[in-house]
């Protein structure tokens, strides 16, 4: 399942026309302990660059930007009781929401793993 990364530290794993979105391990390490995740509503239509999701940490509240456009199909309900999943498993069990991609060509502008790691190393 190909995974793409943004400069704002979101990842999206794509399976057919479905994408699973989260924040990267680097992002969670910068935010510190996550205390609350404000998730979008299933059915919501979001555009690339919109902020459908907010992650609260002990340091700050941070927008999560949509890497691509689409319609939200599912959110990670487990985060309601256990926002710390985003700290412990940012790129697996701490996923935020799934969406149906409306314009898969938007993935072309994102980074692959190697490019993202090089980007983080330069920060």
């Amino acid at each position: 399942m190909p995974t793409y990364y943004t400069k704002d530290h979101e990842w999206i794993a794509v399976d057919g026309d479905t994408g699973t979105v989260g924040i990267t391990d680097y992002a969670q390490s910068q935010l510190g302990d996550i205390t609350y995740v404000d998730l979008p509503s299933p059915g919501a239509t979001i555009g690339k660059g919109d902020a459908p999701c907010v992650v609260d940490s002990v340091k700050a509240a941070s927008d999560v930007y949509a890497p691509v456009s689409g319609t939200v199909t599912e959110v990670n309900e487990a985060l309601g009781d256990a926002p710390e999943l985003v700290n412990g498993e940012a790129e697996t069990g701490g996923w935020l929401f799934r969406l149906t991609l409306s314009n898969p060509s938007e993935l072309d502008g994102l980074m692959d793993r190697a490019a993202y790691e090089a980007y983080v190393a330069g920060l």
Partner: protein, 517 residues
């Protein structure tokens, strides 16, 4: 009554803490007082006041509301109650106890003269619905203060009613919306630079606008080229904080205003940091259309002084016709009057409405005017000069031990900004802030602004003397060295406060809001 040594170190707190040499039975340690919750004190049924037995008949309609059982109130005598709150207050920190370097709240000294004047019965004991001829003095205070604010900012008018900074922002944006709609020009976007206050984008969204960010330059200021490139027929306004949250003056302010105006937009300035430029710079000369003034910051009585907020908004000639009621307006006779609904059709027909029920925050008006009159024009200028001088003294006294990301960008304004660059692995801004508590200081603003990693924002204001600043600087230098050298005791600070380091994560994730039975 109290558990032995309920304050201070406990074994469960882990490494880095050392037990106090002497454990006390009371939990108090000398003059560091331990205090339980009020519900853990006293005896049910005890009452500090000798209340009369109810007399006469209870009205029939009320009888069914009689309590079957007395309410679960704490039962304390009067001296127990007084001691409870006095002991709690001993665990507090205040501007009257020591320096309070919190940038965003401007914890500056609150002159006692302000309090004396605000308590005069003619100001303190009046009601906003009193007939106007019985409160001419109070209205005179509002008018005279309005006059000072208009003069100090070089603007055309002022809306006095907003109750705090963000309320003032909303007032300013509603004026901008009304002005744009009056010319039939629906615009959707408000531009907010990264260096602006965090409330700005929230206000723009609340006023119905779409918010777009404008990046900052490497030296911490608005990127003029990026801003100019984004301007267009859809941009209603730009919201700029000046001096900005990096503690820097936006040198391109006039060029920004000119570009925004040329594109048909309006300029909102967040005046929360006006303290640094009062008497030195008039925002009206910089092309600003609306700016709120935090009376409770710039003109004393900060939150730490017990005052409520007050955020009058000064307006350019373009926006003045749309200001909310009641509206302070200078008549042809040179006197400023408050225009209310009954006079509005004649004097102020385009007002967008009201921001508050009455005239504004009267208690703050009397304090702010007292502050202004007791300082005079020369004193206000010196306030700005001393506040900036103090911040620069802190910046230059610490930049060899703490990273100052914009230190090379020239002098700062009211705030000195540092980052956690150079701290040992695993040591953070939070650790240094907690160490500052042990040193007897309130920590500075941390992790804001977001554009700086591990930000520490120190705003000493004009309140502090050089001796006071030197004490603070000595503590900060020591803490910076401990963070660089990975002192494990800093990681578990504070050690000397009534409570050790609190679990902020758990407090946010699983807050306990009800006293366990």
């Amino acid at each position: 009554m109290n558990a032995p040594n309920a304050s201070g170190w406990r074994p469960a707190m882990g490494e880095g803490g050392e037990a106090p040499a002497i454990l006390t039975v009371s939990g108090d340690r000398g003059l560091t007082l331990e205090e339980p919750l009020i519900f853990e004190l006293g005896r049910p049924g005890t009452c500090g006041v000798d209340l009369d037995e109810p007399r006469g008949e209870i009205a029939p309609g009320l009888a069914r509301f009689l309590r079957a059982e007395p309410p679960a109130l704490p039962g304390l005598t009067e001296p127990e109650t007084v001691r409870h709150y006095t002991r709690l207050s001993r665990q507090n920190y205040a501007i009257d106890l020591g320096p309070f370097p919190l940038g965003s709240c401007t914890m500056k000294h609150n002159p006692r003269l302000n309090e004396k004047v605000a308590r005069l019965p003619g100001f303190a004991d009046i009601h906003p619905l009193q007939p106007q001829h019985t409160v001419r003095g109070a209205i005179g205070v509002i008018s005279e203060l309005a006059d000072w604010l208009v003069t100090l900012t070089g603007m055309a008018a002022v809306a006095m009613t907003p109750k705090a900074g963000a309320h003032g922002e909303l007032c300013g944006l509603l004026c901008i919306r009304a002005a744009l709609e009056a010319r039939g020009d629906a615009r959707e976007v408000v531009l907010v630079p990264e260096s602006a206050h965090g409330t700005n984008p929230a206000t723009a969204a609340f006023a119905g606008y779409r918010v777009e960010n404008i990046p900052a330059t490497a030296d911490g200021r608005v990127d003029l080229a990026a801003l100019t490139a984004r301007l267009g027929p859809d941009v209603a306004a730009v919201m700029i904080t000046n001096p900005n949250t990096c503690g820097l003056f936006e040198r391109d302010m006039k060029a920004i205003s000119d570009a925004v105006h040329a594109a048909g937009g309006l300029v909102y300035c967040d005046g929360a940091n006006f303290n640094a430029i009062v008497g030195k710079v008039r925002p009206g000369d910089l092309g600003v259309d609306a700016m709120h003034i935090n009376l409770h910051k710039t003109f004393s009585t900060p939150h730490g002084g017990g005052g409520p907020g007050s955020g009058p908004v000064v307006l350019s000639a373009a926006l003045a016709p749309f200001a909310p009621l009641p509206f302070a307006m200078r008549g042809p006779d040179g006197i400023i009057r408050l225009v209310e609904e009954e006079d509005a059709p004649q004097h102020h027909p385009q007002s967008f409405g009201r921001m508050a029920a009455f005239h504004g925050q009267m208690g703050m008006f009397t304090r702010a005017l007292t502050y202004i009159l007791s300082h005079g024009a020369d004193g206000l200028r010196q306030v700005a000069e001393d506040a900036v001088l103090n911040a620069n003294y802190v910046l230059r006294s610490l930049e060899d031990v703490l990273d100052a990301p914009f230190g090379a960008a020239g002098p700062c304004m009211h705030e000195a900004l540092f980052s956690d660059e150079g701290f040992a692995e695993g040591f953070s801004t939070l650790d240094l802030a907690k160490g500052l508590i042990d040193e007897g200081f309130h920590p500075m603003t941390v992790y804001f602004p977001l554009v700086v990693h591990g930000a520490m924002l120190v705003e000493p204001t004009e309140t502090e003397s050089k001796a006071g600043l030197d004490r603070f600087i000595a503590s900060m230098r020591s803490l910076a060295a401990r963070a660089r050298n990975a002192d494990p005791a800093l990681k578990s600070a504070p050690h000397l406060a009534p409570r050790r380091r609190l679990d902020e994560t758990q407090a946010a994730r699983k807050p306990v809001l009800v006293q366990p039975q």
